[in-house]
């Protein structure tokens, strides 16, 4: 009985920890809103965990490399408007971002109130 229980527990646990790659990727986002966008865009099949740290700008990502490749991840982020360590941001997507999420504008306005309004 105990063995059945343990076996079932193992199966459950293996399901959770499917064959995956854990990796850190530099993503040049700016603010908390960027974090939200980046993480939401990476909520796709093949990726089990994605968390971006605003302070270090590092994205911790776990994915199944049979379902999605590292370059596809970079492309996804680029198409969202953000640059990564190996890929520039898609310029159109970047232009469409809120001001607070764009590298130059965010730097210029700092933490001033109003910078987070939709681009003027």
């Amino acid at each position: 009985m105990k063995n059945i229980f343990l076996a079932l527990l193992m199966v459950g646990t293996l399901g959770v920890f499917a064959k995956t790659v854990t990796q850190k990727i530099l993503v040049k986002g700016e603010c908390g809103k960027c974090k939200d966008k980046i993480e939401a865009a990476l909520d796709i099949p093949g990726i089990s965990f994605a968390e971006w740290d605003k302070e270090t700008k590092m994205l911790t990502i776990r994915y199944n490399d049979k379902k999605i490749s590292e370059s596809q991840i970079h492309t996804t982020i680029s198409n969202l408007g953000y640059a990564t360590s190996t890929m520039a941001a898609n310029p159109e997507a970047q232009a469409a971002l809120d001001n607070c999420c764009k590298p130059k504008e965010a730097k210029a306005c700092g933490a001033k109130a109003g910078c987070c309004k939709k681009k003027s």
């Binding site: 908390g32 776990r62 607070c100």
Partner: protein, 757 residues
Amino acid sequence: MRKIIGLALCVLVLHSYAQHEHNTIKGTVTFKNGNKSEPLAGAFVHWAENNNGVYSDANGDFNIEHHHGPAILIASFASYTSDTIELLNLDQEVKFELREANELGTAIVIAKRITYGLSKLDPRTTTLLGEREFQKAACCNLSESFENAPAIDVSFSDAVTGTKQIKMLGLDGFYTLIGREYMPSVRTLNSYYGLSHIPAAWVNGIQITKGAGSVVNGYESIAGQINIEMKKPFGKEKFLLDQFAGSGGRFETDLMYVKDINKYVATSILARYGTRGMENDRNKDGFLDMPTGQDFKIMNRWQFYSESGLEGTANVSFHDNVQKAGQLAFYNDDPSAYGIGINSRVIDAFAKLGRARKDRELSSFGSQYNFNHSEMTSVYGGETNSKTYEAHTDQVYVNLLYESYIGNSFHHYQTGVSFLYDNVREQYDGFRFEREEAVPGVFFEYTYKPKETFSLVGGIRADYNSIYGLSVTPRLHGKYRFNKDKTAIRVSAGTGRRTSNPLAQHQYIFASGRTLNFEMADPTLAYRLEQEVAINSGISFEHEFRLAYMPATIGIDYFNTRFLQEVVIDRETAGEVRFYNMENGTRANSIQTQLDLTPARRTEIRLAYRMFDVVSKYKYANINGPQDEMAKPFISRHRAFINITQRTRTDWQFSTTATWYGPQRIAGAKDTTYSSGVFLYDITDKFSPNFYNWNAQVSKTFKKKFEVYIGGENLLNFRQENPIQEAANPFDQNFDAGLVWGPIFGRMVYGGFRLRI
């Protein structure tokens, strides 16, 4: 709306000090009053993808459980436009500012500060159980809803009615003050079946507080406090239909319908009908494993507010429950067979009324009122040879409170007067007890909160009991968060007291052949027994960290309860049950550790282990002397727990819980090993074996509104062998259905659906 989100975002950036509470997101809801922002109490805050939410408290503050779906929070309040905020990360404080929907002409400023003196952000060791959390358990009523809360043990207490009881810190459920919207509930006659009479579908959230509670809610909490928030008319959910079917012929239907009369008044009707029809005897002991019966409950709620700042709620409910259990032959009308019939009825009304002071901020009056009449008739035995328990209770509770501050908001206080009246009339087997107890009291609670990370609460109350005289109840709580808010320490200490209801709270003794014996302390006291008095103290620690890449939280707590005066139930002698007072009786130590991990998006793993060291004194155990210390019966010293919950992008949810219970001492077993100072559980027939319980559930939600679920409980099909002692001779004095340590039913499968609009 995007502007609002943008603005909120900046506010968040500016207030970038994180206010992180274990497993919860903190925030405030305010409204514009002229140029000033003022806290908005009673606003409903919930996740966009479902209706699981909380209400903001008197300071506009709220705490909502983490959630791994789209991080979008919505705050709403009648007559105000809802506000939506996308959370940037789960560590930040969320600030909502609601605007009045009525934009015609000058805004009507309404002071909206429901207070009732209830600060939810208190420094106590509190766990919030949202609806999604307790719906991982099979069904249908609150006694069954704590399977996923490691702080609470759920076990069967007798083998004929199949009633589940809770235990906290190793102490029976009646040592925990159970509040329904912060009013003492599930007391006296209802302390045995009461939790099973609260439909889980009607409940919005549960707060579990370990250790001493707030003096504002009375003096009765000893092990802890559970507060149950029911769904309110001004909540998000306007219609609910919940249908459950389980093996053993169990069906339960819950219905809720809300009607907004106008922008100031809303009402709701909640109804439940449940039936258990099938006669089942899977363990072949001649007794039904599960009682048959019917359960009907209906409740009407009203919630209102006015522009003068007055607001409140008024509620009335009626409950009728019929249960039949016993030998199979009893169902075939064999007059010599042993049967049980339990009929109970409850009429309950409660109301709250509060008013904010317009001339002084953060100040308000609140009041709570409750009337409860409960009655029960139960018959145990055969046609010519039966014992009847008959009880009627009336309860009146009034609590009037005022809250404000001294100097500045660092020094907050709540003070007030309360009145509790209990009239309990019971008859059983030649015993007749009547007790009329009136308890006026005064209380004062002071909160010192110089900054967000530190708070200290000191409370004291004095009560004059018409039977027991004057008592003073002090309580103290402190909280300190540090290490960038990643670590928190809480301490608490306090006393609690209660009048024991030996018959009503131990109804399993009726289903036994034991002879009842009350030892007289003083004939003028209730049951001739002194009140129970205990001291509880505890410390808890929690820390957030990363385990490899995974966000993780670890919590450790230790609580100690010492009874200065106790009413002992002594089943150590065969054929007898005795009640007597014991000074310096039970000592309970509890250590619990819990680890929460998020290994993948929408996947949560919770591991918990707890140890109880609960030692009681018994006069008649006769091992080493007249007052022997032994492990309290039917408590697993060790318990370990794992829960894994996984949700998918497509709204499937898989949840599985496995619990391991260590051995328990069976009442009557001589625990000769303890007196040498150590427990050495030898697994004889007098100690229960250890066992596993495994539950699993799968659910799928369609369009956020319609949820279908199936699940199984006790999937390993583990059962206590012979849960009824002397089942073949139910009229023998050794017959006992109350010696239960494990599951009585085997595997149970169930399914159902919920429609929420």
